[in-house]
């Protein structure tokens, strides 16, 4: 019998496909998320839009809050550690968290190194803005990749940019000849064996989800149309005026992303969503997506 293998980590990511993972900050929100049909919840102290507003250092959540959420819901519970914060990752594993998000939404703890994720039995998800970054994280042991987008903005534009970049770079690789791959790997700064694998299969070796800025059912559908296999929704739900209805609508839209009539019905009469931020309103040094490399 084997536990903690890469196959088992990716296996859980497979089970989350076609679903919505929702940011929650307490047990009550977690319950709303589960009732709405979320496939997993992400336990964090403050949702990204509040982190953005409040400033300061954003850290791993209090284990007490994580425990309360674990006791409330039956779906997988995820939590975030800071980039490169090995001790926070160790603590989350000790809490039997189902998935660890080594996340740029929290303040990075290490500007050079990410966590060596192969050392853990718990699967990790990491953000990426392009294919090379995705492959570096997979090389370190990530079992799921998500676009970074720009968390806490309610603005899907960066998630779209990242997903389109990843998808078109994958396509580009499949058209290359074997002898070109080493030069590409050098240029990209990505592990050669993963570059070669993607060139051969035409897809990432782990599920490719989307996160960062989704606020409406149509945003979720858009990311699915662009090739996302599931979506993470952070501030978009609990910053809106009617979280339960919006959460359910986003779950439904993720299943029926390719059915415009259904999407129209799903989107009909929802109370206002979060206000949102244009990218030009965010100073370059406050962009969360530039954290990590």
């Amino acid at each position: 019998m084997e536990k903690g293998s890469f196959e088992l980590k990716v296996g859980l990511a497979e089970m989350l496909k076609g679903g919505v993972i929702m940011d929650v900050t307490n047990a009550e929100q977690a319950k709303i998320a589960e009732d709405a049909g979320a496939v997993a919840v992400m336990a964090l102290e403050r949702i990204p839009s509040d982190i953005r507003k409040d400033g300061g250092i954003a850290r791993m959540s209090d284990p007490k809050m994580i425990k309360e959420i674990q006791e409330t819901v039956s779906i997988p519970v995820m939590a975030k550690c800071r980039i490169g914060h090995i001790a926070e990752a160790n603590i989350l594993e000790a809490l039997s968290i189902d998935f660890i998000d080594e996340s740029e939404v929290l303040t990075p703890a290490d500007e050079a190194n990410h966590v060596w994720k192969h050392d853990y039995k718990t699967p990790f998800v990491c953000g990426a803005t392009n294919l090379a970054e995705a492959l570096r994280r997979i090389g370190e042991g990530a079992a799921m990749i998500r676009t970074k987008g720009e968390a806490g903005t309610g603005n899907v534009v960066e998630a779209v940019r990242h997903m389109r970049t990843i998808v078109s770079e994958i396509k580009m690789l499949t058209q290359k000849r074997q002898e070109e791959l080493m030069a590409i790997a050098k240029e990209m700064g990505a592990p050669f064996h993963l570059v070669e694998l993607v060139a051969k299969t035409g897809k990432l070796p782990v599920p490719n989800f989307s996160a960062g800025g989704m606020a409406t059912p149509a945003d979720a559908a858009l990311m699915m149309l662009l090739g996302a296999e599931s979506v993470f929704v952070g501030s978009g739900i609990f910053m809106s005026e009617d979280p339960a209805s919006r959460a359910k609508a986003i779950v439904d839209a993720t299943t029926f992303y390719n059915d415009p009539e259904k999407l129209a019905a799903i989107s009909y009469g929802l109370k206002p969503g979060m206000k949102g931020l244009d990218m030009s309103e965010i100073p370059a040094n406050e962009r969360l997506q530039d954290r990590g490399w």
Binding site: K3, A36, G37, V39, S74, I75, P76, D98
Partner: protein, 185 residues
């Protein structure tokens, strides 16, 4: 609706079998057998209820071959003792969700499935349920640590592990043959 359906479809494609992802009641008229994939049974229940598919699938699974894996197996049980999940109840088993614990307790192991002539089948258990057998009509096809992990009753089979995550097409091949056999009858 939600879950690892693409992995199942890849396996069926390898076997030369056409498949569709069922999202509408009308889709059920196009198929001879149904696989209920792994995923989250709470999510699957919610989507089936919202989109009025629960009744249609309930009728289908009472009359046609069905194969449930993990969350799909829970959906075929009599009860999961959880009001968030509405199973179809066509197999005389009870399911205990996440019975082995959280993801960190997920495991893989080798099992023998004598009736399908499969030796050392690589079985992948992800936050797996455990089944309790309620009647003699349920045939146990494989066990792990004395717990049933693959069972059959009538036209239905259920596994608590994920054959779609192994490289072995054996169980899918067996299920496809069952569908062909049922069609002839």
């Amino acid at each position: 609706m939600q879950g690892a359906f693409q992995k199942h479809q890849n396996m069926l494609e390898e076997l030369g079998v056409n498949s569709i992802a069922v999202r509408y009641e009308g889709d059920l008229d196009k198929i001879d057998g149904l696989i209920l994939p792994g995923g989250e049974s709470t999510t699957i229940t919610s989507l089936l209820n919202t989109h009025k598919l629960w009744n249609a699938i309930n009728i289908f699974v009472h009359n046609k071959p069905v194969f449930g894996t993990c969350a799909g197996a829970i959906m075929l049980s009599q009860s999961a003792h959880d009001k968030r999940v509405s199973p179809f109840g066509i197999m005389d088993v009870e399911a205990e969700r996440n019975a082995y614990g959280r993801q960190i307790e997920s495991f893989s192991t080798s099992i023998n499935i004598d009736n399908m002539d499969l030796k050392e089948f690589h079985a992948v258990f992800i936050r797996a349920p455990r089944l309790r057998i309620l009647s003699k009509d349920v045939e146990i096809l494989a066990t792990f640590n004395h717990s049933p992990v693959l069972v059959r009753q009538g036209r239905a089979i259920a596994s608590t592990f994920h054959p779609e995550l192994s490289q072995n097409l054996g169980i899918h091949k067996w299920f496809v043959n069952e569908i062909k056999h049922q069609k002839v009858l």
